[in-house]
Amino acid sequence: MLLKLNNIFKWVQSGGQRVFLLKDINLSIEEGEFISIMGPSGSGKSTLLNVIGMLDDFDEGEYNFLDESVHNLKEKHRANLYKQYIGFVFQAYHLLDELTVKENLEMPLLYSKKSSSERKSLVADMLDRFNIVGKKDLFPSQLSGGQQQLVGIARALISSPKLILADEPTGNLNSKQGEEIMELFKQLNDEGVTIIQVTHSKKNAAYGSRVINLLDGRRI
């Protein structure tokens, strides 16, 4: 069991009323699964992903991650937890514009205090694995969208997370680039990485082993 959500509620106050973003979500995910979260706009897909990624709070319920009770943890411990086990991939790539490809990849390692030689070898491995050695000194703006997302995924993988959270990873890409990225996810999943992706596309969802449908914050 990688993680388990029990009766998760999340709401905001609006005009004196509670507007529910997540309503009574129950979900358990095993290691090695590839899960797609689907649903129309505003159904709470991204919110759920952020809750799983511990970037966002919830108001009620229990969340256990690798047998730790996330709901009981202080913010700092929670941050430690996600930094250690979770990698994020974003729709808009979110590479740092001021850093080269190599430096973008290196950044998470700097924060986890890896030694310089260790960082170098990990970055070199990653560049190799994704076939972007030739691009290592380019800045994000010099890359195509697909290439940028490739770097984004490589960056998410570099600290060997157990779980990859991807929020519409192909949303800004054309169909060919999108397919390549999905193939890559499939391949990573085969290597044992757990993946949860948010997507609009049935085709992309088909790459996953399981689909979770949301509507107005509820599982359906």
Binding site: L55, F88, D97, S159
Partner: protein, 793 residues
């Protein structure tokens, strides 16, 4: 990690060139000014610190009580001997008497050159008290024999063209031949001692008998008395012990003396004894802090405003494992980098502007003094302080950003916080600018008032010619007659003490109408001939002028004396006055209107005017300014006929009067320069902020334009926010400045009023500058096609 921070910082700075430039420019001006001010303060605080026993060296001073208390940096000439022989406090005691303008003849290779030089008559022990060594480093100065002298290296080169002058001679005052017994190393700038020629004290009797003797009857400010105390003395005890001296040596004097010991370090910075007012240094220091403060405020404002653009980066970093403190330090690194550039440029600015700074404040600071450990320490401290102060708030603000919102682009400007802080800081900047502008106005108005108000005498086109001691009545009268014949000369008057010469005033006791006691107040002596009133156009209010005479039989007084005595001017006429302990005795024949003898900081005091040809030391010549050059040449010719062995020297009276406002003039230049800088730095920051606001509201402007708003409306929309801030700043600055400048003006007995429109000028001026700054940026956006700005969203 640090390297990574540095790299990111560098790339961020490059990316936002305009903001970086504004920050660096503002901070460099701040740093540059701070460096200059640091040099200035160091210079003034380092006076006479280099003497081996500087903590044991004291100057003997006198507190005079004649109804009001006055401080004299001197003691009666007899004091030194008594202090050294009858008390056991001092290891050494020495007297030094500075006198200006002696004639010195130097013979070199058969030709004789005449110089006019300031000279100090000094006792040998003076050089055992202070560290003013000879060129060979020893303090074995030999001045005990009469007709000996030591001179500085500079003076040796100046007079003889060589340093090898020991044993050479010069002729002093066309009389004594004096032998040079030693060459002193040049004196440092940071000492009270300004002389370059030191003559044996034994020679003083010929020139200034009073100062050379063991007299107790009065004080001359030419004389200073120094003592090197034995170790571990209690100053208060010594001063108590000295209380008996006046009773013993001046039993009948109404002028109650108290002798005091002034530490050497106090001499330069004690305004009571003619030193620099330390408030001047404090004001200077504050201005330095203000400038650095304004530049730091710019930095904070621009950075917090910019935080929005960096929220994405911060969000990503947080998601990828960065902690708050990482981000905080990352931002601080960036600030540090900017500050480092600014310091480097600041040093360049300081070094480049040092010559003008020196001219402005009449200093000789050198850039070399910048490169020592103390300065590097100061610089590092300043750098650290500025980087930390201006970096930490934006750093905290940015590290607080919530990553989910930042990454979703759901963050808006208000979420970033810092809006109200920014407003407060902008207001603070405006307050400083308004305060500086109003202060500049008040100071310049006060000086203008002093310069242009009728002083009660004519100071225009009056040339003051110095005359040597060496003359008699016949010689003086013949010179005066010849000067009168020079074309362009209107009036000529011989005198001791022109109006407006309060610096060298001679104040003394007065006994009115044979009363048994002398009066509680003192009277200023003006010795002058019958043409004094004509020359300086001083009107009579009662009686008549005295008749032409070479010695005192009749005298004039001013209205102030009548007021002090509680009488009318008419009542004074015909009454006898005794002055200077009965030395001078005459009847009052006329009363003149009061005139301003000193600066406007001083009250007008009682004055009397009476003739005594042997005491004149100047001739005042009222000339027609149209042909001044020719007239001056002819005055020189006539003067030189009478005093062929001397050097012709003159000054215009209005310059001498203006000199009374030297300190004020410096304050004025200071506040002009620095309020200019403060406004400039403030504008830079304003420009940066406006640039940011305009960018931020581009979309809003697009929407407004599509909905039918015109350029004028948009401009107004932007300006009003800033104008409000200026008004708030004005409301704060007005009472503050009013209070402080009123306090400053309190120091003047005759002063201008603070006008309400000074504040209007300052506030409206700042508003205009702001509007101009705003308009440029806003118009650029307001005139653009709105479709552009809307499409980019």
């Amino acid at each position: 990690m640090f390297k990574n921070h540095l790299k990111i910082a560098w790339r961020n700075l490059i990316k936002r060139k305009v903001f970086t430039a504004i920050n660096i420019l503002g901070l460099s001006i701040g740093f540059g000014s701070a460096i200059l001010i640091y040099l200035f303060l160091c210079y003034h605080l380092s006076f006479d610190q280099f003497h081996e026993n500087s903590d044991r060296i004291y100057r003997m001073t006198t507190q005079e009580n004649r109804g009001s208390i006055e401080f004299e940096p001197s003691v009666p000439p007899g004091f030194a001997k008594v202090f050294s022989e009858e008390y056991g406090y001092a290891d050494k005691v020495a007297k030094i008497v500075d006198i200006d303008g002696y004639i010195i003849d130097v013979e070199n290779n058969g030709s004789t050159e005449k110089y006019k030089k300031d000279v100090a008559f000094v006792q040998e022990s003076f050089f055992k008290i202070f560290n003013f060594p000879l060129v060979n480093g020893s303090n074995m100065v030999s001045l005990s024999a009469p007709n000996t002298a030591v001179i500085t290296e500079n003076e040796a080169i100046n007079m003889f063209g060589t340093l090898d002058v020991v044993g050479k001679n010069f002729v002093f005052e066309n009389d004594k031949t004096i032998e040079i017994t030693g060459v002193l190393k040049d004196l440092p700038q940071t000492t009270f001692l300004k002389a370059n020629i030191f003559i044996s004290f034994e020679n003083l009797a010929d020139h200034f008998e009073f100062a050379s003797g063991e007299f107790w009857g009065g004080i001359t400010s030419n004389l200073q008395c120094f003592a090197l105390l034995k170790p571990n003395q209690n100053i208060a005890d010594i001063e108590t012990a000295l209380l008996e001296l006046p009773k013993k040596h001046r039993p009948n004097s109404k002028n109650d003396h108290t002798y005091r010991l002034q530490p050497l370090s106090d001499i330069h910075l004690n305004a009571d004894y003619g030193g620099l007012n330390p408030i001047f240094l404090i004001v200077f220091g504050l201005i330095g802090l203000f400038l650095i403060g304004i530049a730091s405020i710019n930095f904070i404002n621009i950075s917090t405003a910019q935080a929005f653009y960096r929220s994405k980066e911060i969000g990503i970093r947080k998601v990828l494992g960065s902690f708050k403190q990482h981000l905080f330090w990352q931002f601080l690194t960036e600030t540090f980098l900017i500050s480092l550039f600014a310091v480097a440029i600041g040093i360049v600015i300081a070094v480049l502007s040092l010559p003008s700074f020196n001219t402005l404040f009449e200093l000789q600071l050198s850039a070399q003094s910048l490169f020592n450990f103390q300065f590097i320490g100061f610089l590092l401290l300043l750098l650290g302080l500025v980087a930390f102060l201006s970096g930490s708030y934006p750093g905290i603000l940015m590290s607080r950003i919530v990553p989910v919102l930042a990454l979703k682009g759901k963050l808006n400007h208000n979420d970033m916080g810092g809006n109200s802080t920014r407003k407060v800081l902008v207001i603070a900047q405006f307050v400083i600018s308004i305060t500086l502008i109003v202060s500049t106005l008040v100071i310049s108005k006060q000086i203008e008032y002093a310069m242009n108000t009728d002083l009660g005498f004519d100071k225009e086109s009056i040339v003051m010619l110095e005359i040597p001691d060496d003359f008699d009545a016949a010689r003086f009268n013949s010179l005066k007659e010849r000067l009168k014949q020079v074309p362009g000369v209107q009036h000529v008057s011989g005198c001791l003490g022109s109006p407006g010469a309060a610096d060298s005033n001679w104040g003394t006791s007065i006994k009115y109408n044979n009363r048994p006691e002398v009066e509680e107040f003192s009277i200023v002596v003006k010795v002058a001939d019958v043409d004094y009133l004509n020359t300086f156009r001083i009107p009579l209010v009662a009686g008549r002028n005295f008749f032409k005479n070479d010695s005192i039989t009749e005298m004039l007084v001013n209205e102030k004396l009548a007021e002090k005595l509680g009488l009318t001017s008419e009542e004074l006429l015909g009454k006898a006055i005794e002055v200077n302990g009965g030395d001078i005795k005459a009847n009052i024949v006329g009363v003149v209107k009061d005139f301003h003898d000193g600066s406007f900081a001083e009250d007008i005091g009682p004055v009397f005017i009476a003739p005594n040809v042997s005491m004149y030391n100047e001739i005042a010549v009222k000339i027609n300014h149209l042909n001044a050059k020719n007239t001056l040449e002819q005055l020189n010719t006539e003067w030189s006929k009478s005093f062929s062995n001397y050097i012709f020297d003159y000054r215009f009276l209005d310059e001498r009067v203006a000199e009374q406002y030297e300190t004020e003039q410096r304050y004025l230049s200071l506040s002009k320069v620095f309020s200019g800088l403060a406004i400039f730095i403030g504008c830079l920051g304003l420009y940066g902020l406006i640039l940011f606001f305009v960018n931020m509201r581009t979309k809003e402007m697009g929407i407004r334009k599509v909905l039918g708003s015109n350029v004028g409306n948009i401009l107004r929309l932007f300006s009003i926010d800033f104008l409000k801030l200026i008004l708030v700043a004005g409301t704060i600055a007005t009472p503050l400045t009013w209070y402080f400048m009123s306090q400053w003006l309190e120091g003047y007995s005759y002063r201008t009023e603070i006008q309400w429109w000074y504040f209007v000028i300052a506030i409206v001026g700042i508003m205009l500058i702001t509007l101009i700054t705003i308009s440029y940026q806003t118009l650029k956006v307001a005139l653009a096609n709105p479709i552009k700005s809307l499409r980019t969203e």
